[in-house]
């Protein structure tokens, strides 16, 4: 990580980040309220589904999986990139949260020995989590790839899904980071340079995803399997062409703009692009799941379309509510940026500089 500008000292970091935990304003509660409302809608829909049956959702034979599984894969993908927003608790005493932190700190006193264990543990966790990102999303992809459904049954699925997960995660990080940085005045800690790096990662994974799309179509054509060809023809030109082209344009074409440094370093442009990628990645899962099933190329008689109902949208809204509620609670109750990690890259305080900066 590149070093932040010179005026960023240990003390500055602590104060800047701790400020994010200050008493929340009206806007925060408005957002939190919106998230909780969405979640409540989702819960009510869920209860309805439990009582009356899944039939309230828009499933139609042969589309037996739809928006719920789409959301599941979407959020699992995002969660895996969550490791990128590393948030290790830094403990400090502040107002009403003291008790909470004492509880969660489990007696942390900040001794030398404890720091040594912490860094070691941190390393092990990272070593564990990194392959987990790969393995879990590979398994999710193989859940699909083991089927014989054209559009699912592909050897490319594991790297395709892992790249997609990181891609969507990066996009989500950008989407969340831009407003946080602005609202919490973290410009000096989260710099354009960070964004540029995120953009580069987006470009890489986005290109892998684009390559995977290309591969799928190439193999469908080159493989000569009539069913496979029919399925991909349906995907691109069938009744769901709009979903497919939304996915291709948002995920494969738009990120190619990131080759330009001007765009990589333009926060507004990045924010807009990240939203497009989020939408595109949601549609990618929708296309893989719903369109592959609807365009069933084996049994022509069973072709059917799919129309989501209020239950589908309700549960989906609930999943967004669930995510943003926890996210909003998190940013106000825990430091959103890891204080220790930022400090690690700062030049250590030397003699002649205020000592308390180190203590905090």
């Amino acid at each position: 990580m590149a070093r932040p500008p010179g005026r960023v000292t240990y003390d500055f970091v602590t104060r800047t980040i701790a400020r994010t935990l200050g008493n929340p304003g009206k806007g925060y509660f408005l957002l939190l309220g919106a998230a909780v409302t969405l979640l409540a809608i989702g819960i009510i829909c869920l209860l309805y589904l439990l009582r009356y049956g899944l039939g309230l959702a828009g499933y139609s034979h042969p589309v037996y999986w739809a928006v719920f599984i789409t959301c599941f894969v979407f959020w699992v993908g995002i969660a895996h990139s969550g490791t990128l927003i590393s948030a290790i608790l830094f403990l400090f005493r502040s107002g009403w949260r003291k008790k909470l932190y004492q509880l969660t700190a489990l007696g942390w006193r900040g001794t030398n020995e404890e720091w040594r264990h912490f860094t070691r543990g941190y390393l092990y966790l990272a070593a564990l989590a990194t392959p987990l990102v790969l393995s879990v999303h590979s398994v999710v992809s193989w859940d699909f790839a083991m089927a014989i459904v054209p559009g699912w049954h592909a050897t490319i699925f594991a790297p395709y899904f892992v790249a997609g997960a990181i891609y969507s995660g990066c996009a989500m990080v950008i989407s969340l980071l831009v407003p946080i940085r602005k609202l919490f005045h973290l410009e000096e800690l989260i710099t354009v340079h960070h964004f540029e790096n995120l953009a580069k990662l987006c470009l890489l994974t986005g290109s892998i995803v684009g390559y995977a799309y290309l591969c799928e179509y190439f193999v469908a054509w080159f493989g000569g399997n009539a069913h496979e060809r029919a399925a991909f023809w349906y995907r691109a030109f069938g009744p769901f062409w709009w979903a497919t082209w939304t996915m291709i344009i948002c995920n494969a074409f738009l990120p190619q703009l990131l080759w330009f440094k001007k765009i990589r370093t333009n926060i507004t442009a990045l924010f807009v692009m990240s939203i497009f990628v989020n939408v595109g990645m949601w549609f990618e899962r929708f296309v893989i799941i719903v369109v592959s099933l609807a365009g069933e190329p084996f049994e022509r008689w069973s072709n059917a379309t799919y129309n989501p109902t209020w239950a589908d949208w309700g549960i989906m809204a609930g999943s967004f509510g669930w995510f943003f509620m926890w996210f909003l609670l998190f940013v106000k109750n825990f430091p959103a940026v890891s204080i220790t990690e930022v400090k690690e890259v700062l030049p250590p305080p030397t003699k002649g500089r205020p000592a308390e900066a180190h203590a905090r």
Partner: protein, 995 residues
Amino acid sequence: MNRRRFLKILGITGGGAAALSGCGIGPEPTQRLLPYLVAPDDQIPGVATWYATTCRECAAGCGLRARVREGRAVKLEGNPDSPVNRGRLCARGQAGLQGLYNPDRITGPRLRGANGQLAETTWDKAVQLLAQKVADAKGKGIVFVTGHETGAFGDLVDEWMRAVGGRRIAFESFALEALREGNRLAFGTAAVPHYDFAAAKYIVSFGADFMETWLSPVEFQNAFTRAHAFAAGADSSMAKYVYVGPRLSLTGLSADEWIAAAPGTEGLLALAMAQVIVARRLARSPADATRLGASLAAHTPDKVAAQIGIDAKTIERLAREFAASGGGLAVAGGVAAQAANGADIVAAVNLLNYVAGAVGRTVQFGPDLAQDAAGSYRQLAALRDQMAAGKVAVLLVHGANPAHADAAFAQALGKVPFKVSFSSDPDETANAADLVLPDLHPLEQWNDTRPRAGVYALQQPVMAPVFPGTMHAGDVILRAAGRTGTFKDYLQTAWRDVHRRHGGGKSFEEFWTAALAHGGVYTEIATRPVRLGPGAIAAMGEAAPPFAEGDATAVVFPHPALHDGRGANKPWLQELPDPVSKITWHGWAEVHPETAGKWGVVNGDVVLLKSEAGEVRAPVWITPTVRPRVVAVPTGQGHVAYGRYAAGRSFNAFDLLPGEPNRAGGRTFVVAVKVTKTAEHVFLATTEGNAREHGHGIVNVLPLAQAQRLRPGKHVFEEEETPAYARGAEEGWADAQREMAALGGYAGTHPRWAMAIDLSRCTGCSACVTACYAENNLATVGEELVRRHREMSWMRIERYVTGGEDGEPLHAVTAPMLCQQCGNAPCEPVCPVFAAYHTPDGLNGQIYNRCIGTRYCSNNCPYKVRYFNWFNYAEPGGEFEAWPAPLQLLLNPDVTVREKGVMEKCTFCVQRIRGKQNEARLADRRLDDAELQFLPACAQGCPSEAIVFGDLNDPRSRVRQLSDNPRGYHVLAGLNTRPAIAYLAKVAAPSGGAA
């Protein structure tokens, strides 16, 4: 729980079940709990009893065997003893049970009170009132309207009417008056002959829908497939089948060639064919046919071709083929016989048969069908006018619903001071009645019917009345007439006459018991010759259609399942996709794509059809199976009453029809209409996905010439072998299966249950679908859920079409699609909880209690034959309840009723397989192939015997032989799923000139 308490509970539950069956089934709360100390002789709990009776869903008189469990009928099957249906049964017959247990049945006598509402009354009061009203009305007009009654009940009504000075008329919406009139014109006899489809070598149907509603559909379909199916080996010939008519009906789907003649011109085609045959001396015509020659000359192919809408060469070719076959059979009916000139069309077709020498061979007068008992529309129209003029004091109606079929009749009902209905359903006529005396359901009552000369079919009650408050109409009439005895006594008295003639030396009791066991007495009647009648030549002048010009010609046809509307309150029939349109729960208007383009309408757009008589608003279904500028609309829907499933559904096509009878005395079902597009749109609940299968190998068709060259052992349809690199994996899988089988003590030789479906036999009639609903407790889900493709039909009929564009001839192929019971099933490995598993005898089992509803099995099933319970269809009072009381009584106790959230699919009727296996084990014998062949409900019901079941491991089994047939193929064999179902390719006789 201690032992004492346990026994107490056991006693109460067991006693309750016993009381339910012992005291009759009904909605009344059980009053007493009695132990089954002395069981009825004919009942063993858990073992079914079978009763022979006769189906009364239409006039064909098919024999039935009702499976009765613990005192309630749970399944209807064809009676193999009956010469009519030979053990087969159509969808309507299967659905008879839903009439028996219909939740909307009238439970007891009702009398219209001072407030104008029908209120409950007692039978004593009701019968007394009836007798008194009839006595008072003497001389003021008493009319009894019945349905098509050919047995003792009709005789009783006649006797009573004679005694009280009234008269009886019979009313059938589709009474085929033109058939009788056409025969009278051509042969001087109004009898309807027996048509020997099985012996035919070339069949031309002029609109006759002989597989759906025409005369005796099951019998004819069975015979038809005997002639039309391709039987390689013994005889590699097949009868060619040509369908003539403006609309391709279910009967037309099987046609090798479809002549889309303009409505009403079918007779011209027949005359032109006859002209060619006579002029070219193509057949040995009877001597008196020569006097037709001069008149026929006016109908040369050149002269009539333009009017029919085909070219003259086609007519000439058809005539040559027909004559050269040496066994031609032409039948006229359906749409053709219901045109204004229907009788003349029938007469023309008779002449064709006559000059080709078919009369006496494939057309047999003698064993005549009892069609004269169907009455005529002329009689009904006359009655209606009398009623309107106030000349009818008492009107009694039984087994007919004229108020639905004729709007003017419904109005005229208001002019009749006292109306009595014997209907047990709240139909439109019953709703208008002053006194309703609900009859027993045909399955609950004694009666008989004589569908054709020589066949005496008996009806016996197969169970105690579902509603004890209903009473046999025969008993009511006997009481009202002041006579002693029950209707059963009356019936037996009538049967003493049958005994005298066909008793064969047995005592009456022996004779009666034997007749009951066999479902009746069946005798052979000799054929008699007929000669040309005096009207034959005169009829020829009228064969041209006298149509008024409109935007289009509307052809109103009977719905194959709902018929004239009498099936509309049976959810099985409402949810059964129409064999042609695949639309459920709604009426539609068939429009040719070209015409639809002209009118600017798309599927579901509602058009207003306006005839001179009335108008209907019908959603458009665009299809190449109808002639341009023709709109075909089915009857069956549009009830304003008749129960929860029927009332308020789409439109009543009868409203389009003129109220005046045509020259044949029948109703005219072909009318000119004005068409207006409306702003309305209906989302039709269709089960059709993609009607063109694009050569994916789901259905295969072989031209006759190629099929004839097939040799045993050489399969035409290449099956993809497992590639070498995958073989190891597959063997490993098979080993694992064997290991699993060994774990449960299942090791040993097991059968491999399999099926062979011959597409050259399948007509798409869908009897198997309803049979499956009945056997396997399939839920009906209603129109809204069918729109989302959530129907639960384990068995569906896929109807694919080819051609029909750019002048290509249109052909249809139908194929039943059900679980293929794959040897290498994609559904099994994706189930996380092993609910989908492989049984040792090769079935893909599905354990409902284990299923958690991931639905992955369905996603991975390439045949898409797994169905999910989206809701709790069995929840009493629930929004999606499929079996409102007492409909739940028809549930098969051998089959689990599935819960919300589980997957289900075809089991090959595993309960029937296990039943047979247990039977064989108890008798210490091996299972015989003969008892397996038609074991599953679908195979049992199939009127064309297209489905054969058995053990693939038995080299002598029929299913094995059929599976090895060179026409055999597996659907999507390339996926290496190893299905247990082998389809035999359809064989098509050459259409057009090419041979």
